[in-house]
Symmetry: C2
């Protein structure tokens, strides 16, 4: 998609929290000499890997709701793209000597919790979820990518490459609202619920995973600053609000 389709990307916001990004100039081998950094990256890759596998499952599930065979094929294609992202992350974990399952397991509950609380009841809710979920996850991982060594950063940015969710979802949702304006109100509520659930699950993960949280707030080694995490979540929420407005939904 072109950038004009995606207003309010959180990456556009001023980076207020780039206090300790010296690691960005290092490669993996050098950066990983710090065991705390290494643990944070393993957490991150594990979280991202399980997220891709969960996204595969949900998109495949949503494909069942597709009104036409073309739409079904489109969702299956996205699901398959997520699976290939998962494979890259899993292979990377293995390459750095980590057991991929062990790295993913701490994040299973948060993703399952999110998906359980946000099972779409129809095709449009599924599309909005794919769009919102994908955008929030991208914003979050892009914030984090700025704090990563060059090798990990390339991989993370590569698997965040748009798999086509966004433009496909935006087009279909806009058409549905044009055809039936009342649909907009229902989907706006739905998007708000998705965002709330995503924030609550993320905060749970951040509170649970010290190494990851420490990295998020700029590598402050002696504890993590919840206020800074809060500011990051604010930037992501703001970007979400702008995207929803562009979609014709009040966020």
């Amino acid at each position: 998609m072109t950038s004009s389709d995606k207003p309010g990307n959180a990456a556009d916001a001023p980076a207020e929290s780039t206090g300790a990004t010296a690691v960005a100039a290092l490669d993996w081998a050098t950066a990983a000499a710090d065991p705390q950094y290494r643990a944070a990256v393993v957490d991150l890759l594990g979280a991202l890997a399980y997220g891709e596998l969960a996204a595969f499952e949900r998109l495949a599930e949503d494909a069942k709701l597709a009104p036409t065979l073309e739409d079904k094929a489109e969702l299956a294609k996205m699901a398959s793209a997520e699976f290939h992202h998962f494979e890259r992350l899993r292979n990377r974990l293995a390459e750095i000597g980590e057991e991929p399952t062990g790295a993913m397991e701490p994040f299973v509950a948060a993703y399952e919790g999110f998906h359980k609380q946000t099972a779409p009841s129809d095709w449009l809710e599924g599309l909005v979820k794919a769009y919102v979920g994908d955008s929030i996850a991208s914003d979050f991982y892009r914030e984090v990518a700025a704090r990563l060594d060059s090798d990990t950063r390339s991989l993370v940015l590569a698997v965040l490459d748009d798999t086509g969710h966004a433009s496909f979802a935006v087009e279909k949702v806009r058409a549905a609202i044009d055809a039936e304006p009342r649909v907009g109100g229902r989907l706006a509520l739905w998007a708000r619920r998705l965002m709330g659930e995503a924030l609550s699950q993320s905060q749970r993960v951040v509170a649970d995973r010290d190494a990851l949280s420490t990295m998020l707030v700029g590598g402050v080694a002696d504890g993590f600053d919840l206020a800074e995490v809060g500011r990051m979540f604010s930037r992501i929420t703001e970007a979400h609000t702008k995207r929803m407005a562009a979609l014709g939904l009040a966020a």
Copy 2:
């Protein structure tokens, strides 16, 4: 997988019905000059394409039942492979000037009927279904491939390439029966039900689609010989019985 893992492949049986396979020596451009042949191939590609898309969906669904993250990833991988097969078939339909959706639609009801009647209730049933379903479909399409022009035959054989279902399923099912022999009885009943449902849906398709049926029985242009279709189904059933025995299941 090696051929020794897959006893009783129907292709091993003597080809009793290869009366009219002259088309096998032709390429697509030449063979497709016959409108009846062309219609049969469009049917076949449409049926195969929708079958792959449906297989994608079912494997993704079964991935939810996986007892471990590794098993889940293994099923997601198979699902993704089926999706890529679907893409090749859909692209081929477009290439020969056919609307892929139109070609697939006549077969949606049969596949949906099959999957609705055979929703696995646990992980092992899902694996047996993937194995049995994949093997029967392969046997069927291999029987048909012998009657196809060289271009279509290459494509059909390429998308039948084992996606890894068989060896993965066989290994897991054998281990489960070793650990708990009573499981074998339940899975044997399940496999029999799968076979019955597959046959009943296939016969429905054969009865509905004249062009396809005519090709199946050797290109007899003036009608189709149900007895010959019956013999093909017998060969497929026999191969299934041998596979089940090798798996430790009485078919």
